[in-house]
Subunit: 332 residues, 2 copies
């Protein structure tokens, strides 16, 4: 492997001069620079980033750690990447399994220290587990779980989004609104927040929410949602509105309804959450709560860059506003 000292010898200069030419950290005379570049070219030299990182103490790299590359996380990742690059850093994405053990492992200090900063999408971890995550590397948390105060945190307006969605259904005349994937029991997190919003919308409309309409969806997959809705239809459970806690769940519901001949929005109106790219194209177009991806991404990156720049102000906990995007799955 050709090293910087080979280049230095070839060009008849010191290693520092080669380094300076390559990084541009100090001025180097024109003729010398040319000799160095020629030597680099002829030897095919490429800097060893690992060595640079060790010496410089920076990696110029930010990690985004997500539970999967799908759906919501894919959308977020695609938006975060250019922002990080704009800050002159490189983005890499790592995946945790959704389970806490592996998530904890991804958070092992050795790995985190490889990055100048980390955006961590918290899926499986509880607040007290996060408490033990070391904080010497700047970290910004994303996601709907409760987190300890010593982290910056970006979350969605979950309760508000669910309320918007449900209120929209009620306004359009739905009276029995399924809360698909929601849960009153989950101690804290997306599913309980969205349950709360669902309930709140009912109260605000002077209606009583029927808790029997709260239907769990294991792992929030389309498959599980499909199964759950199919079972409800077979059991004859009456409903004329459906709030899905996310669009992935909504897709399963749409398929189940279509197969049973239940028309959307004629018989059942439906609203999802996340406004995935594909949701607009799933007939009849899924009305969905848009999480403001660009704002989520921009906020997360801004917070992280503040920390990486050495900012040590109080930790921010930002709730990003959401808005409803109306499509064909609810009546005009």
């Amino acid at each position: 492997m050709v090293t910087m000292s080979d280049v230095a010898r070839e060009a008849g200069v010191s290693m520092m001069t080669v380094s300076n030419v390559l990084t541009g950290n100090k001025r180097v005379g024109e003729p010398t620079r040319d000799r160095v570049l020629a030597a680099v070219e002829s030897l095919g030299y490429e800097v060893n980033l690992t060595a640079r990182h060790l010496r410089a103490g920076r990696t110029d790299t930010v990690a985004l750690i997500v539970p999967s590359f799908h759906d919501y996380f894919g959308e977020v990742a695609d938006r975060i990447a250019p922002l990080v690059e704009a800050g002159g850093r490189h983005l890499v994405v790592e995946r945790t399994s959704a389970d806490a053990r592996s998530e904890m492992e991804s958070l092992s200090m050795p790995r985190l220290r490889m990055y100048d900063g980390v955006l961590l999408s918290v899926a499986g971890l509880h607040s007290d587990e996060l408490d033990r995550v070391p904080t010497s590397t700047p970290i910004v948390l994303l996601g709907e779980r409760e987190v300890p105060p010593q982290f910056d945190h970006v979350r969605l307006a979950n309760v508000e989004g669910a309320r918007l969605a449900t209120a929209h259904l009620l306004e359009r005349g739905a009276r029995r609104v399924l809360a698909l994937g929601a849960s009153a029991e989950a101690s804290v997190g997306m599913e309980s927040d969205r349950h709360a919003g669902w309930a709140e919308a009912h109260r605000a409309a002077g209606l009583v929410a029927d808790e029997r309409l709260v239907t769990p969806v294991p792992d929030f997959t389309s498959e599980a949602a499909y199964d759950a809705v199919t079972r409800l239809l077979d059991d004859g459970m009456p409903f004329d509105g459906l709030f899905a806690v996310n669009d992935t769940v909504a897709f399963g519901a749409v398929a189940a309804l279509a197969e049973r001949g239940v028309r959307v929005p004629h018989d059942v109106q439906l609203v999802g959450f996340d406004n995935l790219g594909v949701s607009r194209f799933v007939p009849p177009g899924i009305t969905s709560v848009d999480p403001g991806y660009d704002v989520v991404a921009a906020t997360a990156v801004r917070l992280l860059e503040q920390r990486m720049a050495g900012g040590d102000g109080p930790h921010e906990h930002v709730t990003v506003p959401v808005h409803l995007v109306e499509r064909g799955s609810t009546r005009a």
Copy 2:
């Protein structure tokens, strides 16, 4: 920052002993090990991976480089991750923009050298550009473009898949099959291969493919597909079958057809390609060519691990077989 030498001092041993305890590379006596571990614990020491990498010459990390985190690439990434982990290495995902400049940059030797191996999904690069990519790091290419022979390469049976899809449509009675997103002109790559399969199926059935049914879709987005199909319908272009070069494109088509009141599969039968997770749930269920994600992932990882293990056999160019998954968008 607490280093290994701090631990060594605290435990009253040499740094090498600490290193050996931590890596397990050499046997260390029970009492000594305990003292070391106690010191590690009490000081909160964590190994510096950057330093380890520099010294050891390995990073135990594999990079998967993809054009975006969406769709096909998300599916592949989710399957590759566990396989790489199973090999005792860590996976990170990097994104290139689809454009060649940025893709070339991601391929800069310095970055590639940070990894023990690289899985590169080739989107924007031409064969002669790839020719200039240095090969000192083991690389396996994924994707449908033509690639130079000095790389291992995993691709799909594109022509065969397109043929399968089109033949299925013809068999089910379709006579004017749109080739949405295909192109006879693209010198080489996914869109021309799939065009070839479309044409081949017609020949095999003794039919003449009407080239006017070949409709380009810029960037292969759902939006562009929606626009293209809408325009065709408005122009009164007759067709009763639709082969979409991928499911993302198919989604756009489905939405356009639904909005214009064209029934699937009654008026137009439709087949996609990629069999994305959501395709099953988009009413009426998208018949799609399944690329055998698990095989793609397993093959790519196997080839890469062979190279990383020092294998220097001839470079393999594997074409993964595909199969058709029938759903409601084509007749039974």
